[in-house]
């Protein structure tokens, strides 16, 4: 199998974030500031990435604006020839900082959206006043003409506001709207009872997105990640393990996806010890589920094995207890019954409390 270089890199600059979203894609064990890579190391990584063929860089977190060196990092990535995309809640950005980021060559901003008004958004984000500050930054981005994607993270508590969410994205001048239904790893898994949408919401969402997509063609593009528990076939997670994307954690661990650390037997190399190229091509974690040879049945003999690549390895780990199993979301998985059970459990549980994402005190 010939391994091609990655196209996109997600740099998780920090786990620090003023928000505490209960579906955060960061791991349960959050890293403190003292564990983070320094500016110089990140710059080296960006240069290595560009040299090996990475084209797109997402500067993410946590909240990347929590890093005082965000402007320097953006400038360095831009100089390395990378397309720079800031993935932010907007908190920590100011007009002055946006001046500097534009100057540094920032190409695009992806702004997260927790809800369409302060009531729901600040409850979901666990941060009072966050929505108003986000809207101020959104207006500022619009005024400057900085290309904007709105990333609306959707779940049971806000899916009924989908139409309003779409209108809001149009009003804010977003070119793209990600209707990203929560995927259940880490923090989201802890909050599944609060976040899992109903089947009715899922069906309605598909219709609303299809209608809006047709109506807004040429105005705003959509990326829709439907809730996969209701799907017949699993999502083609990462377009196949270690095929196109590479992830760097705040302390320099190189991961095939942001949730990969939930697979306990995998060992991850660090950019502190090895070159990115060496890790991508020869790293044990990257080769663990690359291609199709690792697949068990029913995947191995499945006509869809190069369509969905067996689904998501982290989800197989979380639900089947085996990262090399068929993603149990797949209706052909022998473990599919567990997904049906999870759905029933999550929808019948009566709680109205989120488990917010927090840095554990002992860490």
């Amino acid at each position: 199998m010939s391994v091609r270089p990655p196209i996109a890199m997600l740099a998780e600059l920090t786990h620090r974030c003023p928000l505490a979203c209960p579906y955060c894609s960061n791991p349960l064990e959050l890293l403190g500031k003292d564990k983070e890579l320094d500016t110089r190391t990140w710059v080296r990584v960006f240069n290595e990435a560009a040299e090996m063929g990475v084209l797109q860089l997402a500067l993410s977190g946590g909240e990347p604006a929590s890093r005082p060196d965000l402007v320097d990092l953006t400038a360095a990535a831009h100089q390395a020839g990378l397309y720079t995309n800031l993935i932010t809640s907007g908190i920590g950005l100011t007009p002055k900082r946006l001046d500097a980021l534009e100057q540094a060559g920032l190409d695009h901003v992806q702004l997260s959206l927790q809800g369409v008004n302060a009531g729901i958004a600040d409850w979901v984000g666990g941060y009072k006043g966050g929505f108003d500050r986000k809207m101020m930054i959104a207006e500022e981005l619009k005024r400057r003409g900085i290309p904007l994607t709105l990333n609306a993270v959707m779940h049971r508590q806000n899916l009924d506001d989908l139409e309003e969410t779409i209108e809001m994205a149009v009003d804010l001048g977003a070119r793209r709207l990600e209707v990203a239904c929560v995927q259940f790893h880490g923090w989201a898994q802890k909050n599944r009872h609060m976040l899992l949408p109903t089947r009715e919401q899922t069906e309605a969402a598909k219709q609303i997105v299809a209608e809006a997509e047709a109506r807004l063609r040429g105005v705003m593009a959509f990326d829709f990640v439907p809730p996969d528990y209701y799907a017949e076939y699993p999502k083609a997670c990462m377009g196949g393990w270690a095929s196109a994307g590479i992830n760097i954690s705040p302390d320099g661990k190189v991961l095939p996806c942001h949730a990969a650390e939930t697979i306990p037997h995998l060992e991850f190399d660090s950019v502190r010890d090895k070159s990115l190229k060496e890790i991508w091509f020869d790293g044990a974690a990257f080769n663990a589920y690359r291609g199709t040879d690792w697949m068990p049945d029913p995947c191995q003999s499945c006509d869809r094995k190069e369509i969905d690549f067996g689904g998501c390895r982290c989800q197989a780990m979380a639900i089947a207890g085996d990262a090399s199993a068929t993603d149990p979301v797949c209706s052909r998985s022998p473990m599919h019954g567990r997904v049906t059970d999870l759905l029933a459990d999550a929808l019948s549980e009566t709680s109205n409390e989120f488990v917010y994402r927090r840095l554990s005190r002992s860490a």
């Binding site: 091609r4 270089p5 196209i7 996109a8 040299e51 090996m52 063929g53 084209l55 797109q56 997402a58 020839g81 397309y83 995309n85 190409d107 695009h108 992806q110 003409g145 900085i146 290309p147 994607t149 070119r175 793209r176 063609r217 040429g218 105005v219 705003m220 593009a221």
Partner: protein, 94 residues
């Protein structure tokens, strides 16, 4: 809604640009969170997109350069540009 008129002037909006792919070769259209490898036809079309040239002028230039019928070229360019426009990788001045 996406169709480009004869006198429209297409352009690449801020955040969309074409770069050389040093590792894989060829040229790539980079846009927010997307990268599209361009084939020779796509390159030839986008080389002529500058916000000044009209759709009609671009088609005529391509037809002259490649000695092909304008009708055929117009259909190909229209299809290509509509695809980009639907993803907001291309906009037009009217």
């Amino acid at each position: 809604m996406l169709e480009i008129g004869h006198s429209d002037r297409p352009y690449l909006p801020r955040g969309v640009r074409i770069v050389e792919d040093r590792v894989r070769g060829g040229r790539i259209l980079l846009a927010p969170e997307k990268a599209v490898a361009l084939d020779a036809i796509g390159e030839a079309i986008l080389d002529r997109v500058n916000g000044e040239a009209t759709f009609g002028a671009i088609v005529k230039d391509l037809a002259d350069t490649y000695e092909a019928p304008q009708g055929q070229i117009a259909a190909d360019v229209q299809r290509f540009m509509m695809g980009l426009r639907s993803r907001i990788f291309l906009r037009v001045k009217t």
